[in-house]
């Protein structure tokens, strides 16, 4: 197998592996976003999921830019992710002209952040669409067919994983899980802010640091965030920072 094929195989195993004791929704979604950028011809990725009230929420992104774009989609109520969630189907446009026609406000923001292409793949199982995976490119044009298929397969496996996780939980977890995931999400942002301030880092590098740390020690991202907030982890994370290679933001 080529290294990309090996990486793909690992990714599918990771995305299917949700029946573990310390499963963490946010961490899982960040994995999906990060692997999408790594394995597909995309420069940034973001994931929105529907909460219990049917409203879409930005749950994870590979870079701050992707998060900003998704938030902008929600505010302006237009964009590929929304169309994708509403239709349950992949949403792609051939070029910027077609994008501008469909989503004038969103496309303007997209370009302002340096991107020239955006597409969305549904996170859907049978008739239920629970969210969408957004893929952003610096270069104009859509993903090639092979990448689209792989991206859709990743989104699908991730959806099955999430549904499985939701299905095995007790009924109260089922109904409130996303709410709790939102609390973790907010906590993650608070921890990012604390770390960014203490280490004098931009926000996305602070996040990268937390992620790398969690990854390398097999820890949950939410737990790492909680420990940063409690003030028991900061120094250790920073020490690791000095050893890591300089981060190059994707976008």
């Amino acid at each position: 197998m080529t290294s990309r094929e090996q990486r793909l195989a690992t990714t599918f195993v990771d995305l299917a592996d949700t029946l573990v004791a310390n499963f963490d929704v946010i961490d899982f979604l960040h994995t999906l976003a990060a692997r999408s950028v790594e394995l597909l011809d995309a420069d940034a990725a973001g994931i929105m999921l529907a909460d219990q009230r049917g409203g879409l929420r930005v749950m994870a992104s590979s870079a701050e830019e992707a998060r900003l774009l998704e938030l902008y989609e929600l505010q302006s109520d237009e964009g590929p992710c929304l169309d994708c969630y509403r239709s349950g189907r992949p949403v792609v446009r051939d070029d910027l002209v077609a994008m501008r026609t469909s989503w004038p406000l969103f496309t303007e923001q997209l370009q302002a952040l340096g991107f020239h292409s955006a597409q969305a793949l549904p996170m859907r199982l049978r008739n239920e669409t629970i969210g969408a995976l957004n893929l952003f490119r610096l270069e104009p044009g859509r993903l090639n067919e092979a990448d689209l298929r792989i991206g859709q397969a990743m989104a699908h496996v991730a959806t099955v994983g999430l549904m499985q996780e939701r299905a095995i939980a007790a009924s109260e977890l089922l109904a409130t899980q996303l709410q709790t995931a939102l609390t973790s999400r907010v906590q993650l942002e608070q921890a990012k802010g604390m770390l960014a301030q203490r280490a004098g880092l931009p926000m996305d590098q602070a996040f990268q640091l937390m992620r790398d740390y969690a990854r390398s020690r097999g820890r949950r991202l939410s737990d790492v965030a909680a420990q940063i907030i409690e003030g028991v982890l900061d120094d250790e994370v920073l020490r690791k920072d000095r050893r890591t290679r300089p981060t190059s933001p994707r976008a």
Partner: protein
């Protein structure tokens, strides 16, 4: 994205008249929107129960809130600590083992189901919204969604009252305060470090500063995150300009 239902609930409170305190109005609105018998809201702190009952729809609900503080156990203590909603649809079947003392008391009071929703802003524990019912049974998904919306509204009410010194005049300031953009939370974390205070205090500082300068939370948060604004320890909300990182 604003959660439409939360905005509706808060707008409803604003129009419900000013004679009754805001938390009491919220509990009453929650009681009429959901198939429950009583509603109570209590303040929590990082250390645990504060002992302060914000509001209750009736005397029994108030007593049950206070009892949880006295015993140090019960759904509200558990929900606040874990950050998870605690849904106990059949107290006869499960109540006693889960909370030996509170379980017995709540059954004596005639309550058969209890649903507790943590009011939290990430790691910041604000309070708990407790719903009590005289009959057993699960909340439907629709009811759960409604209860979660009321919990969000209650969180907004508590924060609003904190930065308005307990004054509870509702209106635009209340509804404008439910901004939950990522930058607001990131800025909260940064200000906590800048001032050497808890996240709860940092959020309060940001909110009072927004209120005092008539700016939105997201505008101030963006300034903090982009290092255009800095909170100083000497005076409340004092800022000094600094160059970008």
């Amino acid at each position: 994205m604003r959660d439409q239902r939360v905005v509706e609930i808060l707008s409803g409170l604003a129009h419900d008249g000013e004679q009754v305190l805001l938390p009491a109005r919220l509990c009453m609105a929650c009681l009429s929107a959901l198939p429950v018998s009583g509603v109570g809201a209590s303040l929590m702190t990082a250390a645990g129960p504060s002992g302060i009952v914000l509001a209750a729809t009736d005397e029994r609900a108030r007593q049950l809130e206070e009892l949880q503080f006295a015993l140090g156990e019960g759904p509200c203590v558990e929900a606040s600590g874990s950050g998870w909603p605690v849904l106990e649809p059949d107290l006869v079947a499960t109540g006693s083992p889960r909370w030996p003392r509170f379980g017995a008391a709540v059954l004596d009071a005639g309550v058969r189901a209890v649903f507790a929703f943590p009011l939290r802003v990430g790691a910041i524990r604000v309070g708990v919204l407790d719903l009590y019912r005289d009959t057993p049974g699960l909340l439907t998904n629709r009811d759960l969604a409604e209860a979660l919306a009321f919990a969000d509204a209650a969180t907004a009410v508590v924060l609003h009252m904190q930065d308005h010194d307990g004054y509870d005049g509702a209106g635009p300031a209340l509804i404008g305060s439910i901004d939950s953009r990522a930058e607001v939370h990131q800025a909260t974390g940064m200000v906590a470090i800048q001032l050497g205070v808890s996240l709860a205090e940092a959020l309060l500082k940001l909110r009072t500063h927004a209120y005092a300068t008539s700016r939105t939370m997201s505008a101030i948060a963006a300034d903090v995150v982009n290092r255009r604004m800095w909170f100083d320890g000497d005076e409340v909300g004092t800022t000094r300009r600094r160059g970008p990182l």
